[in-house]
C-alpha cells in the first residue's frame, strides 16, 4: 500500500493542472463554474484546445490520437479537468462512437471519422433510446432495411442529448426482426443528420432548458458503408461502448468543485457556521472523499485490464452525491432561489439563480446512461451473484 503518487504521477498531475488552468479559455471555465449550459461554440473550442495538445482522447489507440497512459493517469487527467472547470470532451465523440469505430470500424471509417471525431469537427449524437426502449434498450424498434447499397431507416429515437448540434448520429437499428433473441438482429449504423427524412425535435426539460431531442427517421437512406462492424452484431458494440469506461464514471471532481464553491456561497449567506449546514458539508465531503478514493482504487489497481465491476458503484454513488450537492445549494439559496429566470432583472447572485434549475436538471444523472436501478441490478447480479 502506498498513499502518495509516484514522482512521475505527481509531475503528471501538476502538468495537467497547469495546462487546464492556463490553456483553456477562462470564460469557458467560468461558465462551467457558474453551472451554466455551455454553448456549442464553447464546447467545440474547449475540445479543440485539448485535442491540439493531445488531451482530448487519451484513451484511444495511440495511432488515432491516444496516449499510452495508465488508468491512474487517465483518472488524474479526468479529475484535474473537472477540478479546473474544463468541460470534458464530448462524450458521444470521445467515449462512445470514437472507441467503437477504432475497435470495430473499417480502415476507411477510421480514416474518415476518427480525426474529426477527436477534434469535434464532427459533432456526434447518440441514437440508442426509444420511447419504448429505455432501460430495456434491446427492445428497440427503429428498423434499417437493406436496399441495394443503402439501408433505409425508419423509426424514432429519443433522449438524444444535444442532438440539436449533431451533424452525425450513431444508431442502433434493427436489421433482423426475426432474430431469435431481441439482442440479436441489431446493427450499429452511422447516419449523416442532414440526410432527407431525418428530423430533430426539441424536448423541453423541467429546468427550462433544451438539452435533449427526439430524432425521427422517415425513409432515411444510409450508405451501406456506414455500417460499423458486422451486420446484426450491433449489440456487442453497444455493450463495448457502455462497458469499457472505468474512468470518469463518477463525476467526483465536478462535485468536489461545486461543494468547495458552495462553502463560499454558504459564507456569503452566513450559514457556514450553522452546525446543521456544516454537518451537511462534512458528510458530503467525507462521502466524496470515500468515492474519490474508490475511483482511485479502481484506477490504480486495474492494471490487469479486467472490466471492473466497481464502475456501477461509481455511477450510482457518484450521481447520488452530485444530486445531494445540488440540493444543498438550493437550501443555501433560500427564497431568492425562485429567481432562476430573473436574469439581470433579479438582484440574486448567479449561484442563487442557477441553484434550482441545476438541482432539477441533475435529476437526469440517476436516470440517463443506465439508471441507478439498472446499476443496482448490475451490482446485485454481476457482483453479488444474486
Amino acid at each position: 500500500m502506498r498513499l502518495r503518487l509516484s514522482d512521475e504521477d505527481a509531475a503528471f498531475r501538476a502538468q495537467m493542472r497547469e495546462f487546464f488552468t492556463t490553456k483553456v479559455p477562462r470564460q469557458i471555465r467560468d461558465a462551467v463554474a457558474a453551472r451554466r449550459h455551455l454553448t456549442r461554440e464553447q464546447l467545440v473550442e474547449s475540445q479543440q484546445v485539448l485535442n491540439a495538445a493531445g488531451l482530448a482522447v487519451p484513451h484511444w489507440p495511440v495511432e488515432w490520437g491516444g496516449r499510452d497512459w495508465t488508468q491512474l493517469q487517465r483518472h488524474i487527467w479526468h479529475e484535474e479537468l473537472q477540478r479546473a472547470g474544463v468541460p470534458p470532451p464530448l462524450s458521444f465523440n470521445a467515449n462512445m462512437v470514437g472507441p467503437v469505430i477504432a475497435a470495430f470500424g473499417s480502415q476507411a471509417q477510421k480514416e474518415r471519422f476518427l480525426p474529426p471525431t477527436a477534434s469535434l469537427d464532427i459533432w456526434w449524437s447518440q441514437g440508442f433510446s426509444e420511447p419504448d426502449a429505455g432501460s430495456d434498450l434491446a427492445s428497440l424498434r427503429t428498423t434499417a432495411v437493406r436496399d441495394g447499397d443503402e439501408f433505409v431507416v425508419n423509426g424514432q429515437k429519443t433522449w438524444t442529448t444535444l442532438g440539436q448540434y449533431g451533424e452525425w448520429i450513431f444508431c442502433l437499428v434493427r436489421t433482423d426482426p426475426d432474430a431469435p433473441k431481441k439482442q440479436m438482429g441489431i446493427s450499429f449504423l452511422l447516419i449523416d443528420m442532414t440526410t432527407p427524412g431525418l428530423q430533430v425535435r426539441p424536448i423541453q426539460l423541467i429546468d427550462g432548458g433544451h438539452e435533449v431531442n427526439e430524432v425521427w427517421f422517415t425513409d432515411v437512406r444510409v450508405p451501406a458503408d456506414n455500417l460499423v462492424g458486422e451486420l446484426n452484431h450491433g449489440w456487442d458494440y453497444a455493450k463495448f461502448l457502455l462497458g469499457n469506461e472505468r474512468v470518469g464514471v463518477a463525476p467526483v471532481g465536478a462535485s468536489k468543485r461545486v461543494l468547495a464553491d458552495a462553502k463560499g456561497w454558504a459564507r456569503s449567506v452566513d450559514l457556514l457556521g450553522d452546525p446543521l449546514v456544516a454537518a451537511r458539508f462534512a458528510e458530503l465531503e467525507n462521502e466524496l472523499l470515500a468515492l474519490e478514493l474508490t475511483a482511485l482504487r479502481v484506477a490504480a489497481n486495474s492494471a490487469d485490464g479486467k472490466a471492473d465491476p466497481a464502475s456501477s458503484v461509481l455511477k450510482l454513488r457518484g450521481t447520488q452525491l452530485q444530486q445531494d450537492v445540488s440540493e444543498l445549494a438550493v437550501d443555501l439559496a433560500g427564497p431568492a432561489g425562485v429567481a432562476s429566470f430573473g436574469g439581470d432583472g433579479s438582484a440574486a447572485p448567479e449561484w442563487v439563480r442557477m441553484s434550482t434549475p441545476v438541482y432539477l436538471n441533475l435529476r437526469k444523472a440517476s436516470i440517463y446512461s443506465g439508471s441507478n436501478e439498472i446499476q443496482r441490478q448490475i451490482i446485485a447480479k454481476t457482483i453479488l451473484g444474486l
Binding site: 429505455g134 432501460s135 430495456d136 423541467i206 435533449v212 431568492a336 425562485v338 432583472g345 440574486a348 436501478e373
Partner: protein
C-alpha cells in the same frame, strides 16, 4: 376531533375541483397559460371570484364571504392538485390576509372588496434580497412627508409582483419596527421586473424610490402580524403542497401500472413498488399533519406559529421525498416539461422557497426543542 370535511366543505372542494379541472385538467393547457404573462388565467380568476373563493377568508362586511381557514385550505389543496398558477396564496392569503388583519375599516372594505370581486390582484412585497423568511423589513424604509408617506428600497422575490394592481409593502418605520403600507401599481417611483419561476409561477424584483405609500392601519410595528399571517400562509401553502403530492403519487402509480419495460409493466418490479409504498407513507403522514395544522389555524391561534414550522418541516421532507422519487420512478419522461410530473416537483420546490424550506423550519424547532417534554396534539 374530526379530520373530515363537512358537507359544505366537500361541496366547495367539488366546485373548485370542477372549475380548475376544466382549466388545467389538461396539463398542456397549463403549459400554455404559464408560457405567457401574467402566468395565470384571468378568466379563471374571475370565475373563482364569482364562486366566492377569492373572498373566502374575509368578513362579509369587507366584501368577503366570511368562511374560515379550513375552507381556504380546501381551495389551496385543489389548486395544488392541478398546479393552478393563479395567485391565490400570494394575493388572497398573504396580502389580503394582512389587509384583513391590520387595515382600517375603510381599507378593508375597499381593498378586500376589489380583491374578492376579482377586480384587483394584490401582492405582498416583503422578502428582501438576502433575507430568509424573516418577519421584519430591513432594506425598504418608510419616511413621513407632509401629507403622507414615501417608501424606498428593494424587495425580491415578490410573488406576482409585476402583475399586481396594488402592493402590500413592509418597510422600516422612522422609529424602528416594521410597518405595512399600500402602494398602488401605478405609483411614481415604482419599478417592477417580473420573471417566471421554474414551476411557471411568477415573481418580481420590485424597487421603490420615494414611492408614495399609504399606511395599512396605523403606521406601527406590524412584525407580529406579519409573522402570524406568514405562518398561516405556510399552513395554507402546505395544503397546496399536499394536493400536489397526492397527484404526484397518483400519477406515478398510474405510470408504474402502465409503462412496460422488459415485457411487463413496471409494477412487476418490487424495488419500484416498495418505493411507491414508502411515498404513500410519507403522503399519509403529511396528510395528517396538514389537517392538524389547518385545524390549529382555525381553532388555536396561539399555536399557529409553531404549527407553521411543524407543517413546514414535514411538507419539505415529504415534498422532496415524493417529488424526487416521482421523477426517478418515471425515468426519462419525468425530466420533460411536456409531461406533468417534473413540474409537480418544481412546484413543491418553489413552495418551499417561498414559504420556508426544511432547514429553516427545522432550525426553528431546534431552538425550542428543550422547552417542552412532549408534543401533545390533544392538549
Amino acid at each position: 376531533m374530526d379530520f373530515t370535511y363537512d358537507a359544505e366543505q366537500v361541496a366547495l372542494r367539488d366546485a373548485v375541483r370542477a372549475l380548475v379541472g376544466k382549466a388545467y385538467g389538461d396539463f398542456e393547457n397549463r403549459r400554455r397559460v404559464v408560457a405567457a404573462d401574467p402566468g395565470f388565467d384571468a378568466v379563471l380568476w374571475h370565475g373563482l371570484a364569482e364562486m366566492g373563493v377569492l373572498g373566502l377568508p374575509f368578513a362579509e362586511a369587507d366584501g368577503g364571504s366570511g368562511a374560515g381557514p379550513v375552507e381556504v385550505a380546501v381551495v389551496a389543496r385543489e389548486l395544488g392538485r392541478v398546479l393552478a398558477p393563479e395567485p391565490f396564496l400570494s394575493s388572497v392569503v398573504m396580502a389580503g390576509g394582512l389587509v384583513a388583519a391590520v387595515g382600517t375599516d375603510a381599507q378593508r372594505a375597499e381593498v378586500l372588496g376589489a380583491l374578492s370581486a376579482g377586480d384587483r390582484v394584490l401582492a405582498f412585497a416583503h422578502t428582501e434580497p438576502g433575507a430568509r423568511w424573516t418577519a421584519a423589513a430591513a432594506a425598504v424604509s418608510a419616511i413621513r412627508r407632509d401629507d403622507g408617506w414615501l417608501v424606498t428600497g428593494t424587495k425580491e422575490p415578490v410573488g406576482h409582483g409585476a402583475r399586481a394592481d396594488q402592493l402590500v409593502v413592509s418597510a422600516v418605520l422612522p422609529d424602528g419596527g416594521t410597518g405595512l403600507f399600500l402602494v398602488d401599481g401605478s405609483a411614481t417611483g415604482l419599478t417592477r421586473q417580473g420573471y417566471p419561476l421554474v414551476d411557471g409561477g411568477r415573481a418580481a424584483l420590485v424597487t421603490f424610490e420615494g414611492t408614495p405609500a399609504e399606511p395599512l392601519g396605523e403606521p406601527s410595528d406590524r412584525s407580529a402580524d406579519i409573522e402570524r399571517v406568514l405562518a398561516g400562509a405556510r399552513i395554507i401553502a402546505a395544503n397546496e403542497a399536499l394536493g400536489a403530492m397526492e397527484v404526484a403519487l397518483d400519477t406515478t402509480v398510474g405510470y408504474l401500472g402502465s409503462r412496460k419495460q422488459f415485457g411487463v409493466t413496471l409494477s412487476h418490479f418490487q424495488a419500484l413498488t416498495f418505493r411507491a409504498a414508502d411515498m404513500y407513507v410519507s403522503l399519509e403522514t403529511t396528510r395528517s399533519l396538514v389537517a392538524w395544522a389547518s385545524m390549529v389555524l382555525a381553532e388555536a391561534p396561539e399555536q399557529v406559529i409553531e404549527a407553521g414550522s411543524r407543517v413546514g418541516l414535514k411538507v419539505a421532507r415529504a415534498g422532496r421525498h415524493i417529488g424526487l422519487e416521482a421523477i426517478q420512478l418515471h425515468g426519462g419522461i419525468g425530466m420533460t416539461a411536456e409531461y406533468s410530473i417534473g413540474t409537480y416537483t418544481a412546484h413543491l420546490t418553489a413552495l418551499e422557497q417561498l414559504y420556508g424550506n426544511g432547514h429553516e423550519h427545522l432550525g426553528r424547532l431546534v431552538a425550542t426543542v428543550g422547552d417542552h417534554t412532549e408534543v401533545d396534539p390533544l392538549e
